[in-house]
């Protein structure tokens, strides 16, 4: 096992790694920018090194500075957290080249899953279903109609060279396809210099379901249950839960098994997540997140497995400490991300926290790196704290979380909590009638 781990991150995830190491008896080194001199992760790590000025590019993203900090403190492993350098294969290589262990997958796996095409290829090879599409540009109406018959309707027609949602059309049937092909192609030609289009199956109300998985160096590959992260605002997850509610057991089993199959077939080591879109009784591979995720606590609550400790153990070369059959889910957990932002305009709200009180009691977990008097920096992401509620069933977990929201106090900055409180009380949430576009639609339909 490692003797000393350098944590190449800040905020709540740095605190999370400090806590995991403390329990494993591993010493910790915090790195920090000048803006984070008084941050909690610095206070609670055993050692700390200032690595640069406030701008992330010059500090937390500064590979030579992080490696040097590990060098001078003689750390034998580096935990990258999430974000920053967590999925940077160059960084992982540099860590390894300096004789230290990168607590995450190999640089090769980072590259494989960092590239959309090679990630999809790996998924297809492992027999995971992909969203049906033309897999390339189509430039005649006839070919388009033919491909569409294979994909099925509704489908999405978009400029092959386009991006950012421009020139996209949802097409309900063949008749419409025939009507809109010409105009879409012409628009594409005008906008991007090529009239070629691309077809893909369109999911009206997909849910975002992701499976936590883990692999060891000896070929063990397990899933640790799934999470539902469909409650997203502009592709940002703001409410996450485990297990995914209202899923047919047969579908749930297939999704979990698919993720485990991908780990086994790629030889992935440490923990990661396989994301899927789910609609009806179908599911489609989206991508792999080769790191610990923000929402990992909900899985920890329902399985009793400490995923960060597991990640560290697997990186250190230990074998998987449990078999698939020993992974048992109990109860239900929901997490809220408390972001420092205007709850309606979504503009960041950095500043000093003048009042802070964390909720408590049974089944309430708070992962945060703030306190009364802490400064929420404008330089980094706006995640201030995560509040997780655990109860025997989903309904109780929702009630518990609503109670916790009454107790929490964050003064001096604005937070996303008022929005989340409304969403938690929304019958569509309790009734599991939501999908990845639900919050954006709901916000549009709100008066004012």
């Amino acid at each position: 096992m490692f003797r000393k781990v350098l944590i190449a991150n800040r905020g709540e995830i740095a605190m999370r790694v400090v806590r995991a190491c403390r329990e494993l008896g591993i010493r910790t080194v915090a790195v920090y920018s000048e803006a984070d001199r008084h941050a909690l992760h610095v206070k609670f790590a055993d050692e700390s090194v200032c690595i640069g000025p406030p701008q992330a590019r010059l500090s937390y993203l500064n590979i030579p500075a992080v490696i040097s900090a590990a060098d001078i403190t003689r750390a034998d492993a580096v935990h990258p957290g999430y974000g920053f350098l967590a999925e940077n294969s160059t960084f992982a290589e540099a860590v390894n080249a300096h004789g230290m262990t990168f607590i995450g997958p190999s640089p090769e796996h980072l590259r494989q899953f960092g590239d959309k095409l090679s990630a999809k290829a790996a998924a297809r090879a492992a027999g995971l279903p992909l969203l049906p599409g033309s897999h390339g540009a189509v430039d005649s109406l006839d070919e388009c109609v033919e491909v569409a018959r294979l994909i099925g309707y509704p489908l999405m027609l978009k400029a092959a060279s386009g991006g950012g949602g421009k020139g996209m059309r949802v097409v309900e049937d063949e008749e419409t396809l025939r009507k809109v092909f010409a105009v879409t192609s012409a628009e594409a030609l005008a906008a991007f210099g090529s009239g070629a289009v691309f077809l893909e199956r369109f999911l009206r109300t997909p849910r975002h379901i992701e499976v936590q998985f883990a692999g060891d160096r000896f070929g063990a590959a397990v899933h640790v249950g799934e999470r539902d992260c469909s409650m997203q605002r502009r592709h940002q997850k703001i409410i996450e839960e485990a297990p995914a509610p209202g899923l047919a057991e047969d579908l749930r089993d297939r999704i979990r098994a698919a993720a485990a199959r991908l780990v086994a077939s790629t030889g992935y080591v440490t923990v990661g997540t396989c994301e899927f879109l789910v609609e009806g009784d179908e599911f489609f591979f989206l991508e792999v997140n080769p790191r610990i995720q923000v929402e990992h606590p909900v899985t920890e609550m329902v399985t009793g497995i400490d995923l960060v400790q597991l990640q560290i153990r697997l990186a250190a070369g230990e074998p998987m400490p449990f078999a698939q059959s020993e992974v048992r889910l109990r109860g239900h957990a929901i997490e809220l991300r408390v972001n420092a932002e205007d709850p309606w305009k979504f503009t960041p709200s950095p500043g000093r926290i003048t009042g802070y009180h964390a909720p408590g009691g049974p089944g309430i977990r708070v992962d945060s790196a703030v306190h009364e008097g802490a400064m929420v920096q404008p330089y980094y992401d706006s995640l201030v704290a995560k509040i997780i509620a655990y109860a025997p069933d989903r309904e109780s977990a929702i009630r518990k979380l609503l109670g916790a929201l009454d107790e929490v106090v964050v003064e001096g900055i604005r937070t996303s909590l008022p929005l989340q409180k409304l969403l938690l009380s929304d019958p569509a949430f309790s009734g599991v009638r939501f999908h990845t576009r639900y919050i954006d639609d709901w916000l549009k339909s709100r008066p004012g």
Binding site: K43, V49, C50, I51, I67, S68, D71, I72, H371, E372
Partner: protein
């Protein structure tokens, strides 16, 4: 109210656990907000304005940097070396004159030797880090006096 008064007031407020304080009189005003929990206070006591002062404070304190001498800080994290190699002489020693742009030491990072140049003229008054010790970003390496 002069600066001494402000100081003792601040001490009092701190000891009493005041969180915020603001005060205004005859065109003078004051406002303080304490940070709670473990945070070095960021304060910022704006000196009272000249005219109003009944008891009359006066001279602003001399700029700290000038009083204490100039400082050369490490621009990167790494290991501090006073000479280009173990068998060579140190770049600079106490008492040496240093000109802006002159190399004063090396900081090794990721096996690379990075030369650190002085950004001011002066005389080396103190060397604050021992040879081959680790240094952090922004750590003070040399103190100079104006030469």
């Amino acid at each position: 109210m002069d600066q001494k008064d402000v100081r003792s007031l601040l001490r009092l407020m701190k000891s009493q656990g005041v969180a915020e304080f603001s005060w205004k009189q005859d065109g003078a005003e004051m406002s303080v907000k304490f940070g709670g929990y473990a945070v070095a206070p960021v304060v910022v006591a704006a000196p009272p304005v000249g005219v109003a002062a009944p008891t009359a404070p006066s001279a602003a304190p001399a700029p700290k940097a000038a009083a204490e001498g100039r400082v050369i800080r490490s621009p990167i994290v790494g290991t501090f070396y006073r000479s280009p190699s173990p068998d060579q002489a140190a770049y600079v020693s106490v008492g040496d004159k240093v000109r802006k742009g002159q190399v004063v030491c090396i900081v090794e990072a990721m096996k690379l030797m990075n030369q650190v140049e002085s950004d001011v003229d002066g005389v080396v008054a103190e060397i604050l880090v021992d040879n081959s010790q680790p240094v952090q970003f922004g750590q003070e390496l040399f103190r100079l006096t104006p030469g």
